[in-house]
């Protein structure tokens, strides 16, 4: 029997992938041995990220790690992938929302419609600004050209931010060549890991989302062709990767804020930041008005956050 081989492309570049995906794939290949091998490719390596969804749908690429937003998947849930403003506060919120509050089912349904298998969702880091010049007030955000997620960009543009989308691997250089003034794409762990901390000077401690939501997907036919035990193994390795990120980011964020030397921290006072939080509430309603599915997801976010607030500390502080 010949070895099954898959090509998988992640939206992360090699430096980041070393943490967020390499270990899981190595593990999979080691356990699956001669039965199946996954070849991992990094951001834009085989196909540009913008074409990633279509490539997976057609089977040019067999599996993908990405958020819905970056790869522009043609579903109703795309806006919620990546950083949907203020939807979650902690990285544990994401798996709870998916496993206990019904998002898994919605995602599964949406992706089945477009011929793609949604395997599982995981949480990553919070979304902060890393910039060349300091941001101490909302005024300072005006006119800054920032690399960010499409939906986050749509949201932030009301504060004068100019969102820019470029291939992930080009970001560091784009900051250096003046195409960008900063980045709102990750927490501080990633800023240090991928080198962005070397080209920016300031880190804004306010975030617009507490955790990124991203997924593993596969081409539906390829997935169905797998024997059940390999499907299970794949899921287990995905979960392992989700677990790794839970502690890697959580510990990393705190450590680098306190001990990092490459970026200076700045903060916008809570009263002022409240404007942004209020704007998010309006943004949610706008999105909910766009379709039934979106309304369903927004409703879950609302009920979930209300419940967390009721639960009190340590779930929410005030």
């Amino acid at each position: 029997q010949s070895t099954i081989t898959w090509r998988m492309q992640t939206y992360a570049g090699p430096a980041l992938a070393e943490h967020v995906i390499d270990p899981a794939i190595k593990m999979f290949n080691q356990i699956a041995g001669d039965r199946m091998q996954i070849e991992l490719f990094y951001a834009d390596q085989l196909v540009p990220t913008g074409e990633l969804f279509r490539a997976m749908q057609k089977g040019t690429i067999d599996a993908v790690q990405s958020d819905d937003d970056s790869m522009a998947s043609p579903t109703e849930v795309t806006v919620f992938g990546g950083y949907f403003p203020f939807a979650s506060r902690y990285s544990l919120d994401v798996p709870v929302l998916f496993n206990q509050w019904g998002l898994n089912e919605i995602w599964d349904e949406e992706y089945s419609k477009v011929g793609v298998k949604h395997i599982s969702a995981g949480a990553w880091d919070p979304c902060h600004f890393a910039t060349k010049d300091p941001i101490n007030s909302l005024e300072d955000m005006k006119g800054k050209r920032i690399f960010t997620f499409p939906t986050a960009g749509r949201f932030l543009s009301q504060f004068g931010v100019v969102p820019v989308s470029l291939p992930w691997e080009d970001i560091e250089v784009a900051v250096q060549t003046g195409e960008l003034d900063g980045i709102a794409w990750s927490g501080i762990t990633e800023d240090y890991t991928v080198g962005w901390a070397d080209v920016t000077n300031y880190f804004l401690t306010n975030n617009i989302s507490g955790a990124w939501a991203g997924h593993f997907f596969a081409n539906m036919d390829r997935w169905n062709e797998l024997p059940e035990d390999l499907q299970t193994l794949f899921k287990v390795c995905c979960d392992q990767s989700h677990y790794y990120r839970q502690w890697w980011y959580w510990g990393g964020e705190a450590n680098l804020r306190v001990n990092g030397t490459k970026m200076q921290l700045t903060t916008i006072p809570d009263e002022e930041w409240a404007t942004v939080e209020q704007a998010a509430v309006k943004f949610w309603d706008e999105v909910a008005a766009e379709s039934e599915t979106k309304a369903k997801v927004v409703d879950i976010f609302k009920r979930y956050n209300a419940e967390m607030l009721k639960a009190g500390r340590p779930y929410r502080y005030g």
Binding site: R7, P14, E39, F41, D44, Q45, L46, V47, P48, G50, E51, R54, A55, K58, G59, T60, I61, L166, P167, E169, D170, E172, V173, A174, Q176, T177, G178, E179
Partner: protein, 439 residues
Amino acid sequence: MSQEFIAIFMFASMMLMLFTGQRVFGAIGAVAAIAALALWGTGGQDIPFSAAMKLMKWYPLLTLPMFIFMGYVLSESRLADDLYRMFHVWMGPVNGGLAIGTIGLMVLVSAMNGLSVAGMAIGATIALPELLRRGYDKTMVTGVIQAGSSLGILVPPSVVLVLYAMIARQPVGQLWLAGIVPGLLMASLFILYIWIRCRLQPHLGPAMEDAHKVPRAEKLRLLGAGALPLIIFASMMLPFVNGWTSLVESSAIGALAALVASILKRRMTWKIFEDCTKQTLAISCMFMWIILAALGFGAVFDGLGAVKAIENLFTDQLGLSPWLILILMQLSFIVMGTFLDDTAMLVIVAPLYVPLVGALGFDLIWYGVLYTITTQIAYMTPPFGYNLFLMRAMAPPEISLKDIYRSIVPFVGVMLLALAIIMIFPEIALWLPGYVYGN
């Protein structure tokens, strides 16, 4: 099929296709398409097109038409004529002085365009006839022009360094600055060579008697010609290095500055303008289509596992020291460069080499300079060399192909020497970017 076999198969068929004389992009694209259809599996037929989407997102490519246009404006409108007279008058009285002056001219021309074609054209149209008339040795002359014009891609702006920057993901600003001192070093070595050679054999480059007769005031006035390239250079580089404009915006400013200068100097006619625009399209298309095909080739090559095979070969199987690997890579570039297209080579081979160079602990800015010099050598070495072809097309009939081939030998020697010096002393390249960007 094993990955090693695929690697060899794809490369060999590309070479074979190139030897048939089909257009470079067609040769590369066809191999990519066939391999994608035959070997990829489901959905392989989409890879060549997705390369087009990848190319669209490569925003630094926008600089390409700008720098090409800049070069054409410069050579077609004869903006460099005054510069040439300046060097002519000031350097003429020395043995080999006109040749030395031509190198100086090439340095200034390099600062105003991103390729070496403009330098070649200027050298061949204004310097070459004059040098021959003054009794300079023909192999000396063609060698000087080919070697000198190759500085065009080392002194900023440089298209080759922009392309390298995209592949290696390094900042263009630092790469450009890194090219300046090595460029000047190489120019000095050329000059040194010419000077020594002409001292030993004055008949190769006889001194010019009548240059003394030019009045002092006129001589000083001519010095002013040198200001133009500096202004154009500064209009582009200052906003860029200071971060006021981005790279692509600066390239547009540079192109505009050259155009405005040629209009102000009353050198621009509608005919010339149209011609520059047309040539820019032609050359830009040549580059873009090669890059398009090479990106497709690269993705197929990579997706079929051939990249892994080559990586294994270098890292695991050979077990060599970092320096030896580096030298081997340079040698392979020089060998490939003698019969492969440089842009295709960059897009296909550099993605294999560059991460390895980084992993071995070498500086990728420095390596960019080494790469560029290697490319320059490739332009000049037979059988396949763009600058050779250009020279052959532009040289007057009394210069034979053999003369052209012979003429580059000492200059390639000088370039190899420069390459070695910069390899041994990386500081030559790294000092300036470190100083300006402060790290």
